[in-house]
Symmetry: C2
Subunit: 206 residues, 2 copies
DNA sequence: AAACTCAGTATACGCATGCATACTGAGTTA
DNA sequence: TAACTCAGTATGCATGCGTATACTGAGTTT
């Protein structure tokens, strides 16, 4: 049976994990093939059996984060299905911050490379972001419908929310746990502002 | 007299300018002392007469951007003193995007290194951001007062606005000019959402 | 059991890097 | 004009890099 492929997958995972861990301290951009290979107890040349170059490895990492985050958000959405908007956002933001803390390496990579030098990185990350925005847009529309409200530009609101949550969420990486409560409050408040501002009010000539 | 200091300043400026230009293509993090020195037609060792290392040079660059941006925003604020809120934000966002396009290198550095690997970079950039937030907070409060309105959390609103404008503004760097109109509209709409959402409404038990 | 595949090894290349050392010569001061 | 300062030069070293080449030996196929 495929003992061979199994071993290969193991090495591949080890390379990915080591790259992730190393990127936490130095940043992914500063990593070298040799460094990652050495950390994974493998010859530099062996690296090429798995990835063409560091960029290809990086894109795999981005994918991993996106998958993890999407799972998280899907769960949080499901779990909070019954609650009202304010609670949903607060709940989701809470889960998000937990995720950021648990996967700080992945997240640092995502946010750091979002405006980085590599085109393909930026493109990949923005694509993932767009998916988040899309999913949130649907959520907002659904919730609004339930509450018998209308939103002005649901997609814009979603974009603003995603931007705020990700950008401010990144600050959690530099904060001790006990200071993150304040950060969470800020994010929740700002997200609620956006949603409030997106709601159509009584018609009024202006 | 001081022909010497004059020459030194000239070389220093050349180093800074070259670093800036190079960082546009490869990203500042990927620059080397030798590379910058060569671009500035100077020996690598001469670099050390001006900066301890690349990081010190980088902090100078950050400072330059901040100064330029602050000047821009101050002007835009002054020029739009008489207009109403909506026009102010639109006007300012427009100037901001012009600045981003004109100083794309500086801006790329600012946004790219904002979540980068270097602590001192992040700290420096966040400090500048905080100043923007502070200034905008005062603006929002002033305008609200004039219009006889109250804002819920002016500082949070300002933080959200700055976050949106900078993060989405960064996308302008990857967009052809003719597609930036759409971007501008998105930013304006989202900023207005935030401000709208920050306004206190009629008291209402909830 | 013989032939084949292929993940990983061993080694070596040329190149760019940060940085140390000793030097030069125009500009300044006394 | 003699002594001094100091921005910039010339040179060289050790290190780490990406990658090419030839190889080995366990795992798989026939």
């Amino acid at each position: 049976m495929d003992k061979r492929a199994e071993q290969k997958a193991k090495t591949r995972k080890k390379l990915i994990d080591c790259a992730l861990e190393l990127s936490a301290t130095k940043g992914f951009a500063a990593l070298s093939i040799r460094e990652v290979a050495q950390a994974a107890d493998v010859t530099p040349a062996a690296f090429y059996r798995h990835f063409r170059d560091m960029e290809e490895l990086g894109l795999c990492l981005v994918d991993e984060i996106a998958v993890g985050l999407r799972r998280l958000l899907r769960n949080s959405r499901k779990e909070s299905m019954t609650k009202d908007v304010k609670t949903i956002s607060e709940f989701t933001i809470e889960s998000f911050l937990v995720f950021v803390n648990e996967n700080s390496n992945l997240f640092r990579l995502l946010l750091g490379e979002r405006q980085g030098a590599s085109d393909s990185f930026r493109r990949a990350i923005r694509k993932e972001m767009d998916i988040f925005v899309e999913e949130l847009t649907e959520d907002l529309e659904r919730i609004a419908k339930v509450k018998n409200q209308t939103l002005r530009h649901p997609a814009f609101a979603a974009e603003a929310v995603v931007t705020i949550v990700f950008t401010l969420g990144a600050e959690a990486l530099d904060l001790p746990k006990f200071k993150q409560d304040n950060l969470k409050k800020r994010i929740v408040e700002e997200v609620n502002m956006i949603i409030r501002g997106a709601r159509m009010r009584e018609r009024k000539s202006l």
